[in-house]
């Protein structure tokens, strides 16, 4: 599903060049679930954005689903991101002026899905995340957990093969965070590849694979052999 080879990412700053990622190799199989851990500044968020095609590497190659994507033009990258990748953010990032259905339908809008189909699919997804009765509520009328469920439903709108979550439980209390993680794992069990960036060891421990980052490099890559996400 994901093949990173010799990935480097550098940012030019006023006084120096920051090396956010250094020679990163990473393979993620389809249907796999993994956590990316590391302290602040370790490069885990840069890695996530690179996986989500929001960033392009300074060097190295990135293949997503067997297709080299590191050299694509911006609009083609957007098209792949829209179709292949779902994002879940720590702060949910729902559009305040839109209700839950419209928020969920947002990626489909950019994917040129017709209005009626958008609405039908969005309602289905809200039902799947247990928020059918909150479909017409705006973000301000929803709890944190409910907002994150809407965000997850939005991430699934175009049935992406890769789901990227950036600290998805970071803004939630423990019990709600646990429910959200369970929801994400459930999706993974359904076949969606899941990459979660977190600094929460407890959360990471519930995923079968942990990739630890330090100073822009993959420091460790641990797999738990006894569990299978497809099981």
């Amino acid at each position: 599903m994901i093949e990173l080879r010799g990935i480097g990412k550098e940012y030019a700053q006023a006084s120096a060049t920051v090396r956010a990622l250094v020679d990163v190799d990473l393979d993620v199989d389809a249907g796999e679930a993994l956590a990316v851990l590391g302290p602040s500044g370790s490069g885990k968020s840069t890695l996530l954005h690179l996986l989500g095609l929001l960033e392009t590497p300074t060097r190295g190659t990135y293949a997503l689903g067997g297709r080299a994507v590191s050299g694509l033009a911006p609009d083609e990258l957007a098209r792949v991101r829209n179709r292949e990748v779902g994002f879940v953010f720590q702060r949910f990032h729902l559009v305040p002026r839109l209700d839950a259905v419209e928020n969920v339908a947002l990626p489909m809008r950019f994917g040129s899905v017709g209005r009626r189909d958008r609405r039908r699919r969005a309602l289905e997804l809200l039902d799947e995340v247990g928020l059918a009765e909150r479909a017409t509520h705006r973000p301000a009328e929803l709890s944190g957990g409910q907002q994150q469920r809407v965000a997850i439903a939005r991430a699934l709108a175009l049935r992406p093969r890769l789901l990227l979550a950036d600290e998805p439980t970071g803004a939630l209390d423990q019990s709600v965070g646990s429910e959200i993680l369970e929801l994400l794992l459930g999706l993974n069990r359904g076949g969606t590849t899941l990459v979660v960036v977190t600094h929460d060891e407890g959360l990471a421990a519930r995923l079968p694979r942990q990739v630890r980052m330090l100073d822009g490099r993959v420091e460790r890559d641990d797999r738990r052999v006894q569990s299978s996400p497809q099981a």
């Binding site: 968020s45 954005h49 989500g52 929001l54 960033e55 911006p74 609009d75 957007a78 098209r79 991101r81 829209n82 179709r83 990748v85 994002f87 953010f89 702060r91 990032h93 559009v95 305040p96 002026r97 839109l98 419209e102 947002l106 990626p107 809008r109 950019f110 994917g111 209005r115 939005r154 175009l158």
Partner: protein, 409 residues
């Protein structure tokens, strides 16, 4: 996309409304200015033409130089028939004589009217733009040739003598003699006149005038020029021709009293031209202010929507998804505000058109209306200006880095 754009505008409806209100107000002012300016130009030009175009008036005066054995100070009295000499000059397109008798009283039964009596020739109608109400005519060659007792009435004279009845074919007592009315002038204002308002005058054939009054000398000649810039050449030609005939030095300009009305035309043209330039300038500034207002509001909206734009990019929005909304929003605000402003202007002018405005006011202001072509043009230009105003904010939107804004909390 449209619903996305509209929902964005609705979410920011207070600012959108205020900007649209600004555009509305600007458009209302601009449309009013253009409608007034255009109509004022048309009406005033028309009113100026009511006097006649490219005219001079020529009368005899007194010499200031001795010539051909005559001393200085000799009176020059022009005679009937001189109009033919004047009409033959290269810079002159036509000439007629005019006898004027001030303060004559005309009677129809008990009705009385006092005004100048004019004895003139048929060519006067063309030179002095004397139009005729339907059913009538001006004085003809036959009237002149046969010294007929026929008259053409100014509008005020006709109203005073006949009220609302049709005067054509009826009789009016002029110089103690019954005259048949053959034509009546329309009620129209003139920018200039001599010997009183044209609407108070009564016109009869010059030959009839001379027969009844015994006065042979014309008061003056009305001379039409071939072009507005022919006044100097015409003056020289007139002085030369009449100087040769009456024995005065053509360089003695005081021998004739030549009134040049092209000067007045030039002055009116300059005033109207200035008015048009000012209208265009104010309109242009109004347009720029409206466009800047829209651009500014769109810029602020883009700045405030950076997180939303970043999110859209993260969710797969392409460049056109990001750039179209600011451009379309700006165009829609300009279009909406402009269309409402024009609608209001149209309604205001329609209501104003129902008022009973005096003819003297309408003669210069006309009947301003917001034309469909003008309105469509303004709305179209506003939409384009709005879209252009949204272009720079849109480019800024396209440069939003989703990584940065999604990390900002």
């Amino acid at each position: 996309m449209l619903s996305w754009i509209l929902s964005g505008l609705w979410a920011d409806r207070v600012r959108t409304g205020l900007v649209a209100l600004g555009v509305l107000w600007g458009t209302l002012g601009l449309a009013s200015l253009l409608a007034f300016g255009g109509e004022m130009l048309r009406a005033t030009s028309g009113t100026a033409r009511n006097f006649g175009v490219d005219l001079m008036r020529v009368a005899g005066a007194a010499t200031t130089r001795p010539s051909r054995g005559f001393p200085a100070g000799r009176s020059i009295g022009l005679e009937a028939g001189d109009e033919k000499l004047l009409a033959s000059l290269p810079s002159v397109r036509g000439a007629v004589l005019e006898h004027n008798l001030w303060g004559r009283t005309y009677r129809v039964g008990d009705a009385r009217h006092t005004g100048t009596l004019v004895g003139t020739q048929p060519g006067f109608a063309d030179l002095r733009s004397r139009r005729v109400r339907p059913g009538g005519r001006f004085l003809s060659e036959r009237d002149e040739r046969e010294e007929r007792r026929v008259c053409y009435l100014g509008a005020f004279a006709a109203r005073a003598l006949f009220g609302s009845a049709d005067p054509i074919g009826r009789e009016v007592e002029v110089l103690g003699t019954p005259f048949r009315v053959v034509g009546v002038g329309p009620d129209e204002v003139q920018i200039s006149n001599y010997n009183g308002d044209e609407r108070n005058k009564v016109y009869i054939p010059a030959s009839t005038y001379r027969a009844l009054t015994g006065r042979r000398s014309p008061s003056f000649f009305v001379v039409g020029l071939v072009a507005p810039n022919a006044a100097d050449a015409a003056s020289a030609e007139i002085l030369g021709a009449l100087g040769a005939r009456y024995g005065f030095d053509p360089a003695d300009t005081a021998a004739l009293e030549i009134q040049d009305y092209t000067e007045m035309q030039r002055m009116i043209g300059a005033i109207l031209g200035g008015n048009r330039a000012l209208t265009a300038l104010v309109g242009l500034f109004g347009f720029l202010v409206a466009a800047l207002g829209v651009a500014n509001a769109t810029w602020v909206r883009v700045e405030e929507s950076r997180r939303e734009i970043g999110l859209a990019v993260a969710l797969g929005a392409r460049r056109r998804h990001v750039m179209t909304p600011p451009i379309a929003e700006a165009a829609l605000v300009a279009l909406g505000g402009g269309a409402i402003g024009l609608g209001l202007a149209a309604v205001c002018f329609a209501l104003a058109g129902m008022l009973d405005v005096p003819l003297e006011v309408r003669a210069y202001l006309g009947d301003p209306r917001v034309s469909l072509a003008l309105g469509g043009g303004i709305v179209g230009l506003l939409a384009v200006a709005g879209a252009v105003s949204g272009w720079i904010p849109a480019r800024r939107a396209a440069r939003v880095d989703p990584m940065v804004v999604l990390r900002e909390e």
